[in-house]
């Protein structure tokens, strides 16, 4: 399946990756090649086959609702690029 530069720009936007024009061109070629290769899966009839998202037969793994000791505020902020008043500081969102 061929991807266009527009397709790659859209995927880059969804992925929050700022790409230059040369990168866009290169990724368009590479992604096209890869998505063409995976078309081989269309050879298979998967009617009635359930999807396997997870290899082990487990569900609803819960723990007791008991308070535990979390990281301290300073530990949690220890790698923050910017912080203020015990919070992470980021550029304007709204």
């Amino acid at each position: 399946m061929a991807l266009s530069a527009k397709d790659v720009e859209h995927v880059a936007l969804l992925s929050r990756l700022e790409l230059g024009p040369e990168e866009t061109r290169k990724f368009t070629d590479e992604l096209t090649k890869i998505f063409t290769y995976v078309e081989q899966l269309d050879q298979l009839d998967v009617t009635g086959v359930p999807p396997t998202a997870h290899p082990l037969p487990m569900k609803d793994v819960f723990r007791e609702d008991v308070v535990r000791t979390p990281l301290s505020n300073s530990e949690a902020l220890s790698n923050a690029p910017e912080k203020e008043d015990g919070c992470f500081r980021v550029p304007q969102i709204v």
């Binding site: 995927v11 998505f35 995976v38 997870h54």
Partner: protein
Amino acid sequence: MSLHTAHALASQLADGTTTAVALANEYLERIARTEPTLHSFVTVMRAEALAAAEASDARRAAGKPLSRFDGVPIAIKDNMITRGTRTTCSSRILENFVPPYDGTVVGKLRAAGLVPIGKTNLDEFAMGSSTENSAFGRSKNPWNLDLVPGGSSGGSATCVAGGQAPWSLGSDTGGSIRQPASFCGLVGLKPTYGRVSRYGLVAFASSLDQIGPMTLDVEDTAELLSIISGHDPLDSTSANIAVPDYAAELREGSLAGKRIARPREFFTGEGMDPEVTAIVEATTEKLRSLGAEIVDVSMPHLQYSVSCYYLVATAEASSNLARFDGAQYGFRAADTKNIVEMFSRTRAQGFGPEVKRRIMIGTHALSAGFYDAFYVKALKVRTLIKQDYDKALAQADLILAPTSPFPAFAAGARSADPLAMYLCDIFTLSLNLAGYCGLNLPAGYTSAGLPVGIQLFAGAFEETKLLQAAWQLEQAIGVVGTRVPALASV
């Protein structure tokens, strides 16, 4: 110089031939001499190792070692978080990230008294098969420095093969323990999914990742597997199944009468280096001579492994790597006007090309209009691959496979074409999709003196059977410990 196994060092510590501090100094000194050549490590933990070694000797002097392996050094792949020591995933986006807590497996190593000696180099975020995707330079194969050690756990392989650590931990999502083990002449095991906690392993693909041992022999793999395995309440995907003393049971169970499945789709010879084929055939004969019955089986969906894996793993990765956005930790791009620009430029500058490629493949596969055609379809093919494994394991005790179509290749040889690199893992990927356990066992050398390994697979939580068979075969093949890379004599 010969390479020492962890179990040999444990005996020396127990009988007083050596001390933890002496061991730490020996390995640190060897690291200092060989690192400019090998580049196995992102961070060498010199001060931490010496402090841990001193504490170990004090415990032993007081008659209170934490385990048989108290004081033995170990190297840890740099995608497992270590409290107070930077953990980079070989990425610029985490270049200065210092975790405020240990992962569960790292905690288990410390609780057994093992001495972490350094964090090893990997393909960035474990994405790759050669360690050339590290943001901090490639690691070199001790058997031939112009060749890659494999990946993504390349540094974990080179440090053990190069005598810089007696054993190490790697991680395996599509073959990242087993393939570098094959390229570097080591035993490398991927446990059953859920056998070992993933808490503290920086997630690449959450339904495929497992931490596992990379060692000089099967006995060390068995010992290390017991140390790291077990249920973890902090990892809801970890299995609540008792951990055997794998090493204690190693010498039991003979290969005589065992049925070994040989999937014909893995033995077409296509794309294989003929010397690798010859070694795999010789190993099959060795199994027969030990009384095993080789059973020809068909696993018809194996040929779809690469396609299935590169949709499932990339989809999971696109989700797992969304957290690296410059907000709470790691690199943040400067001078951005708003949050979206901050995220997009941080990730553009912080991630390497392979990581970006895989995030985009995964995002596209999950996006509206393509989700069913790519991601869901791949999950259904995953079911078919798993069923192939189940049918084969219903007829046999173990499955035999090559590890890699070829021995270690030259740096740069496969980096121009991403798909060429992906096809390296044709024999390893499907095991992660099925979720079962498997290992690489060194089986011989090419005429150029390069190691070649083979794989054995077993069913869910059948590591005991797998290790017993591997140990028997290791003794019979007789290559483990017979050669060391030339670098080891430096």
